[in-house]
Structures are given as structure tokens and as C-alpha cells.
Symmetry: C2
Subunit: 278 residues, 2 copies
């Protein structure tokens, strides 16, 4: 499955088991679309990675190093998924971090998944997960590698006809999908959950928040519940690999794929094209 | 620092970066004292590992495989720290686990830390961490490898004179130390936090809960707050490597090392000797 890997700039795919990424999930990652040989929205991904580094006290390696390693890895590659993983490296004593942190950079390429075109056109089926997300403001928003909650939630179903599971926090508020952010449209308004206590602030979500207003849809992240989902006119999912998937069913409840979702999808596609050509 | 490693029975110390242990912290671990060439309280450690496997849907490799690999690794070793790490292995699609899970077993040896004798005799200084533990009953009790909260809490202080930090949950209830469980003695009663929403149910903690009653100290895990700590006659910490450390100071508040702590410490030492000789 794996086509190529660079660890700290070196072509290899093995890591010493004392790396804190393996020992404690002590690190961060980014999952990035590669199209036309370009890492899409790379500056946003690196910004989020840098923010995560700040939050976890991991020294950020710098855009220059990462971008040159990405260039090296993408030579001759048209389409792929690029994963950047950054760990706190080796050393320290137990949970205690080493005095000098030398992060491990792992850049790896995976084949871009072949999603059926109908996911984008007709929408996908989602379910509601029973596993809840825990709250911790100091880990909220960033894409860290402590992902057991998502792994357990994704293990709740095996059916290939269900593409995503929506997750709630311990108080019952809607947060996100196991691998995506969620939006809903109600009376022309765009709603998405607040991610102050848990959840990953996705790149496509950020783009919609930033560009929504100038394209006619103002979004205000807020506390949302299951009831909001069932009262919504449209529901859609976002992430960097899927882009935007309209939701056609929440369990057996059906929704139509609406005009606002299509419009936002086109808007994101345009921004993507601009980003690739820039 | 690392003296020896077995990965799935093979002498090597590198792991493929696609292992889910590295990708998502998708696994479990045990940290075990090796004294007189024996892995102390090994059956309890393997029981907890098995319980963790059940909770995370990771197939348990079985005592036989693990014990024979431990024997191999401990050949000629008198004293060490043995770490057993078990990951969900490779494969799957994103958070989705593979249909057939082939766990990765990583057994590694580290030098046993040389703690000053005064920690055990005169007690240690602890502080109260500001970082809170998040609540998730499906991950509580087990020793999984999603340990960013502990890493961040341990990064709150650098002073060598402070040996541990106590952690509270989001509601303000006392849970544990960053690497230890906590007990307190009040009017001859033994108190320790309930670990139903977060925390690791430590091996030494389990021994005290199991053997306390027949040795004259009944322990009832319960909801405890910071106020309980300051009203306690004695406070002590437990883990498999430190054994029992009395607490002499909580920040600037001082405590005396009491008779109950000494008695329990002796009791655990006796059980350890029995376990080694069995």
C-alpha cells in the first residue's frame, strides 16, 4: 500500500521502537491530498501542524525543511495521499520529555483512495456512534496521534454501505465524524460544531469558515445536538481527502442533497484549483 | 539505554512506520519490574493486558507466547525494567481496523532506575498538575498508549526535587499521578480514587485493594478531591517500578510518613518476595 517514505529526510520505512510516537502516541499528523503533483492546501496543513507543535511543546521543523522533503517525495507523483507525521522523537524518562527535543519527521505516500463518484453526487450514509469523545481543551482542535477513540468508534460498524459515523461528546453535543467534520444547513444558515473541548479543526472546515462569508454563507460554530441534525435541511461532511460528501441518510432517516452543499462544494473545488495552480 | 528488544519474537528494534501503534497510539503496554531474574507480578500484568485487549478488540496473544518470549529476553538478566507493548499491528484503512488483526508484540528491557533510597524512607515531593485528565469510561482503567495527557502534565515541571504530579479530572476529582496511583490514610481508613472515567488501574493498587482487607486495611475506591489530600494523615504513591513512595510534601504543604504507609509497604514487599520465589 505504501509507495514511499522519508524519515528525517532519509529513505527508509522503519523506526526505532523507543520513538515516543510509538510509546505514547506523542505526536501529530497531517493527511494531505496530492493532485497534479501538488500537495493541496499545504500552507494550511503546515500552519495547523505548527499550531499543534506549539500546543504540545514540540519544536516545529520549519516550512523550509518540510517543503523540500515534500518536493523530494512527490517527484514524478501525480496523485497520492501524503501523510506528514511528527513525533517528539526519542529520549526522556517515561512520560517526561527529553531536555532537547529532536522531533521525528515521517513523510509517507499512499495511493489516493478510489471513492465511488456517487458519494459526491448522491451523498453517503452515516450512522450515530455510541462511543463518545472525551473533553480536553488542551488537545482540542489539533490533529494529534492519540486516536483510540476514533479507532473504537470506527470499529462500531463493518457494513460497506455506511461511510461515516458521527460522534458526540460526553455531554451529548455533536462534535464530528470519525474522520471528518460535519456541517448542516438550516433555513439557508450554515452550522458546524464548536471544537473547543474536543474534535479536529479540519482544513476544509477552516476554508469554509474563512471563505463562507464572502460567498454568501456565514458560518458560526456553535453547540449542536442530535436534534439539530434531524431538523437540518442539508448535512454534509468534509475532510482533506474526501473534499465534501453530502449526507443522504443518517441511519434510516433520509435527507436530500441540497443546493447549498453543491454551492459550497463548487467553491471548495475552485479554491483547490487555485491552490494547485498557484 | 535500551538493552534488548524482541518484536514478534524476533531480535530487532525497528518497526515499520505503518504500524497502528505509531499511527494512532493504537495499543497497550505494561511496565514490569525484573528482580532476581523474575518479572514481578507477571500474572497480574498479563491479566491487565488481556483486559485491555478485550476493551480495545485486540486479540490477546496468550500467556504462553508472551511468557516464553519474556523467558528468552530475561536470560542472564538479574534486574531491569521489562516493557511489553502490544499494538493493533498493520493494516486497515485509516482508523478502520483490518479485518484480521495481527497484533505487534514488542518486548523491551531498560536499566532499572536508581531511585535514591530516601524516596522510600523519607517520602517524595509532589505537585498538583493544572492539566486535567479527560473522561472516557471505555478507555478508563487500562494502560493504553494514548498518553499525551500524561506527557503534557509531566512537562509542567522540570525541578528534580519534585518526583510526581497529581492529576484531576475535568470535574476536579483527584485521579492519579502522572505515572502512579495515589492513596491516602485518614483516621486509619485507606482511600484511593475511583477509576471509572479515567486513570490507570495500577498493579500495586490492585494488590493493595485485594490484600488490604486481610491485612487490616479495608480500601474503598471513591470520589476524592484536593480537600481530601489536605485532610489526610498520610498520602502515598504506588506503581510497579517505584513500589510505594510516601508523600512528604504536596507543594509546600508537608506530611509525615506514617505507620500505615510503612505497614502497606512491607506487605507489598512480602508479596513481591513470595511472587519472585513462587
Amino acid at each position: 500500500m505504501l509507495t514511499d517514505v522519508l524519515i528525517n529526510g532519509e529513505k527508509k520505512h522503519n523506526l526505532d521502537i523507543t520513538d515516543r510516537g510509538l510509546q505514547y502516541g506523542d505526536g501529530l499528523f497531517e493527511t494531505i491530498e496530492v493532485t497534479s503533483g501538488r500537495a493541496v492546501f499545504i500552507s494550511r496543513h503546515l500552519d495547523r501542524l505548527q499550531l499543534g507543535c506549539k500546543q504540545l511543546f514540540i519544536p516545529y521543523p520549519g516550512d523550509t525543511v518540510l517543503l523540500s522533503e515534500i518536493d523530494l517525495l512527490l517527484e514524478g507523483i501525480e496523485s497520492a495521499v501524503l501523510k506528514i507525521q511528527l513525533t517528539r522523537g526519542q529520549g526522556g524518562r517515561g512520560y517526561r520529555q527529553p531536555e532537547i527535543i529532536e522531533p521525528t519527521r515521517i513523510l509517507s505516500l499512499y495511493p489516493f483512495p478510489a471513492f465511488p463518484e456517487c458519494y459526491k453526487q448522491e451523498g453517503v450514509r452515516v450512522r450515530l456512534c455510541s462511543g463518545r469523545l472525551s473533553s480536553n481543551p488542551s488537545l482540542a482542535g489539533i490533529k494529534h496521534t492519540n486516536r483510540l477513540e476514533q479507532v473504537l468508534a470506527r470499529a462500531e460498524w463493518a457494513s460497506e454501505s455506511i461511510q461515516e459515523g458521527l460522534m458526540f461528546d460526553q455531554q451529548g453535543y455533536l462534535v464530528e465524524g470519525t474522520m471528518s467534520n460535519v456541517f448542516m444547513v438550516k433555513d439557508g444558515m450554515l452550522l458546524t460544531p464548536l471544537l473547543v473541548n474536543c474534535g479536529v479543526a479540519g482544513i476544509i472546515r477552516g476554508i469554509i469558515l474563512d471563505y463562507g462569508a464572502e460567498n454568501g454563507f456565514h458560518v458560526e460554530p456553535q453547540l449542536l445536538t442530535k436534534e439539530h441534525l434531524y431538523r437540518a435541511d442539508e448535512v454534509f461532511l468534509t475532510n482533506s481527502i474526501i473534499g465534501i460528501w453530502p449526507v443522504s441518510h443518517i441511519d434510516n432517516y433520509s435527507l436530500s442533497v441540497g443546493a447549498v452543499t453543491r454551492q459550497i462544494s463548487q467553491c471548495v473545488d475552485q479554491l483547490k484549483t487555485q491552490d494547485i495552480q498557484s
